[in-house]
Structures are given as C-alpha cells and as structure tokens.
C-alpha cells in the first residue's frame, strides 16, 4: 500500500479531465467512478457476459463466478461472517424497503413501535411509513439537540418504549455528522430491538466491521462509493435475513414453484429475485478492491485537512449560518447565507462552476423542524483538492457579495 497521494488519486478519475473547469462538491449525492470500475464493467460485458446461476454452460459459470466473487469481496470488505449475508439490491432505498416490508410481514405486529431519528434521509422514513405505519405500527422519532446532534438522552428514553426496530443513519447526509453508532447499537440491542443502520454515507467515510459493530442490518448504495448506479448492498444477520419476507418474487429466489404455492430458496437467493445487476455488482466490487489500495486513515486525514481548510475559510465570509459541526464530521458542510434562500446561493455557485446542492437533501422533516427552507451543502471527497476548496470559498464569498449588494 502506497502513501496517499492526492494527485495520483485524482488521476484515476477521467471525469475531471473531461470537466476541468468544474469543482465538484456534490459527493454526498453521488461520487465519480475510477477508471478501474469502468474497465471492470466493460471487460465483463466484452468477455464474460452471460446470465448467472441458472447453471448450464461454462460462459454462465464464468459470469456466476465473477458475480459471486463480487459478493465475496464485499463480504470481506465489511468483515461479514458469511458470504450469504450480502444481498444485492438496487440501492440503499431498495434495501431499507426490503427490511421494512420483510419485517412487517413476519416480526412486526400492529401495536409495535419503530424508532428512527429526526435526522434521517427520506429513504429511512418513507419505507417505514409505507410498509409499517399503515398497519398499526407506531413510528417514534428521536429529536435533535440544539447543535443538531441526535439527543442521546431522548434516545435512551424512547428505547424504554421497547421499539422492535431501531433504524438510524451512520452519517447524516445533510450535516456530515458521524453518529456514535457502536454505542447506539449496543443500547438498542440491550433494549431488545433489531438494529438497522443506513450506511449510505457511512460506508464512504470509514471501514466498517459488521461483526465488531454487531449490527443486525447495514445497507448502502454503490453509486456513492465510487461504484455504478443501480446496485446496492443489504447486509444482515443470517437469522434475521431468513425472517425477512421477500419483497420481490420471481426466478432464482424460489426453490420450487407450483401454481398452488412456492417454496423460497435459501440465502442469498431468496432475497434476490430475477436477474441481478450482474455488471453493477462487479463494478461495485471493482470499486471496493480499487479503494483498498489506499490507506483508509490517510484518506480520512486528507479529507479532514480539506474540511479544516474549508472551515477556516468560512470564518472570513460574513453572514453565514453554519449548520454542520466541524467535529465528528465526515466531510459535509451545510450552511445558509443569512436571509437568503439556499437555492439562490447554490445557483450563484453554479454560475461559478462550483457544483453544490441547495435544498432539503431528502431530509424534509429535519428542515421543517428547524423552520428552514433548506441549506447549501458542500460535500468533499478525497479526490477534491486544496485548490478546489479555495475556489469554492472564493465563489461563496462572491455569491454572498452579490446577494447582499
């Protein structure tokens, strides 16, 4: 493993060569893909393309091997005990829906409670409403403290209501705050709850050890982790995966189909109906294998440095409301220009070719509580540079000037 070299790292992304005049700080929405990923996808289609699992010929077996190798790689990446605990799905949203739907039909009963936090992405709110709330399950919400952290005292209090499921994000996609998930998982388990962690942002920031965390479910999307769109991972404890009612029925996920009834296949197949996104899984594994060539801590230190530079720069810009705390932050800064709509700020940055998002970032309930129209979100990745941070600060200063002129 070589020393982390930001220039070398950035060189893996053709996107920046194609868009030299842009500063991309929308990494929490989706990340760019290194050449290794694009090559893996193309190579799969050119050499090994075939449908998987359904046996028969060597080409299909080669495709199956490549696909199942992707599962092994991902299992190793998060230290899953067993490869069958890695369920491929189309993304974090699909994974959370599978969990909500799957538990509702087996584990949850009308009258049960589910606990989430006030900082969740819609993907960790709406599935519970859609599949559970309508059937008599109550959704409790952990409120936030004044500095936009999850209120841990309230968390403890709400756990006393004995929720059957506790679901929260590892890292907030709005604020970048890293939640104390190890501790929260322990507490929730002690209260007897099934723990679900939305790792869409978390997996990008740090190495995850699902056995160490002892978490029941951990999910994420490939496209936010240098991988292709259309693929995601649902990790679960075997005994719980086996309790999920599949949300999709179809080929491969059943071992026997009769018109009167069908028998489900074993894991992981019972939760992977239909032809999976074979090239997506292979692309995601390629991303993970590529990423592991770099030292995680060095990457984190580099991102911390960029973040510090950005926060320092913000001090010099008047009239900002900064929502994100700089400590325990994974590299996301949400802010507002006082009295201005975030969409206007984002647009003025866009004019200067700084790509950020202004809005509610799929976290409407959070912003409703704060009474805010949203925020402008700067999200950093290890391929960003100090020069880009400086450019974005200048652009923000310019935007503020225009708005307040």
């Amino acid at each position: 493993m070589s020393h982390f070299d930001p220039v070398n790292f950035r060189g893996h992304f053709e996107f920046f060569q194609q868009n030299p005049d842009w500063v991309y700080l929308d990494n929490a929405a989706t990340m760019h893909k290194p050449t290794a990923v694009l090559n893996a996808i193309t190579r799969f289609y050119q050499r090994n393309n075939s449908n998987v699992h359904r046996g028969a010929h060597t080409l299909s077996q080669n495709a199956t091997r490549a696909f199942e190798q992707a599962r092994d790689d991902i299992a190793a990446f998060i230290n899953a005990k067993d490869r069958q605990q890695i369920i491929f799905c189309s993304g974090a949203t699909a994974a959370l829906n599978q969990i909500a739907f799957g538990l509702m039909h087996t584990v949850l009963q009308p009258g049960d409670r589910i606990l989430i936090t006030a900082l969740e992405h819609h993907a960790n709110i709406v599935p519970w409403q859609l599949h559970c709330a309508g059937f008599g399950v109550t959704l409790d919400i952990v409120p936030l403290t004044a500095d936009n952290k999850i209120d841990q005292q309230a968390f403890t209090r709400l756990l006393a209501l004995q929720p059957k499921v506790v679901s929260f994000s590892h890292i907030s996609n709005v604020l970048g705050h890293i939640q104390p998930i190890a501790q929260m998982i322990q507490q929730a388990k002690k209260a007897g709850a099934i723990t679900v962690v939305d790792g869409a942002q978390g997996i990008v920031h740090d190495r995850i050890d699902v056995q160490l965390l002892d978490v029941d479910f951990y999910v994420w999307s490939g496209h936010k982790l240098y991988g292709p769109t259309g693929i995601g991972v649902l990790y679960g404890k075997t005994e719980l995966l086996e309790q999920l009612k599949p949300i999709f029925g179809g080929g491969e996920m059943i071992s026997e189909v009769q018109f009167s009834h069908s028998l489900f296949n074993k894991l992981p197949f019972r939760l992977e109906a239909g032809t999976p996104d074979i090239s997506g899984a292979i692309g995601l594994a390629a991303a993970i294998n590529w990423l592991q060539k770099f030292n995680t801590n060095e990457i984190k230190n580099y991102k911390t440095m960029l973040l510090k530079q950005f926060y320092n720069g913000l001090q010099a810009i008047p009239g900002l409301d900064i929502l994100s705390s700089p400590v325990h932050n994974a590299g996301i800064v949400a802010l507002n220009v006082q009295g201005e709509h975030p969409a206007d700020v984002a647009e003025l940055l866009n004019q200067q070719h700084v790509a950020v998002r202004g809005g509610q970032h799929c976290a409407m309930p959070f912003f409703s509580q704060l009474g805010l129209a949203g925020a402008v979100r700067f999200s950093f990745a290890p391929y960003n540079t100090e020069v880009e941070v400086a450019t974005s600060l200048q652009a923000l200063a310019q935007a503020v000037e225009i708005l307040t002129a």
Partner: protein
Amino acid sequence: MTLDQLLTDTKPALSQIYSTDLPELSQAKDWQSKYRVLMQLGRKLPAIPEKMKQPSLLVKGCESRAWLMHYYNQHQDQHFFVLDSEARIVKGLMAIMLCLVNGMSNTDLKKFNLAQAFDKLNLKPYLSQSRGSGLNAMMERIKSCCH
C-alpha cells in the same frame, strides 16, 4: 389583499420588467451583473402574502417553493397570473416568463413555447443552464390553466 389587487399590482410591474429590465439583462456584460438584474427584477413582482399561500397554489418540481394564482377573464379571453417564489433568482426568471404570457388568449397560451420565446430574447442560457426543472414545472402549471 385580494387576488384582484395582486393582479392589478402585477401588471405594471411586468410591463416595466419587459421594457426596462429585459434590455438591461441582455446588455449586462458579466454574469454578476446579469444575476443582479435578475434578482432586482424578481423583487419588482409583488409578493403573495403568506396568508394567501394555500397549499393548493404550491407548484411542485422546484427545489425552492413557488406559488401560482390564476384568473381568466372570459369576456376578453385573457389569462392573468400572479406568482411568487422563495428564491430570488427563480422568482426573477419566473417574472420574465410571466411578462411573456400574462394576458394571453387561451389559444395563444396553449401553443406558447417557452424555450423558443427565451431563445428569441437571447435568454435561452437561463432556461437550460439552471433551474430548468423549476421553471418548467411553473410553465406546466400555467399551461394547465388553459381549457
């Protein structure tokens, strides 16, 4: 405040925008000046008072919230609109749009093509560059007022 009053206040604002701001916009040299004009222009449109912003008036499809009110004068076959947006730049762009369609007959509004109109005025970049979706959502809502 009533819709009537808003309509009355909007009319002169729109003609001023059309005669003064649009030329200024096309003469602006750098993007900074252009955006300053846009934002001023948004300010000229009277705001819809908070109390009148019924949920049903909300136009979906914009990152910022926007509202549209409509009045059709049957005798003269003319459509009139009042609109507002939380975001100043969006409101500026919507104001431009509005000065092109306000008072149109049902037939004209039906066949109005926003992209073409912006193109003619050299405003196309504003449409395609940004806020496309919000503006388009507003345009769709305006068109849905036709019969």
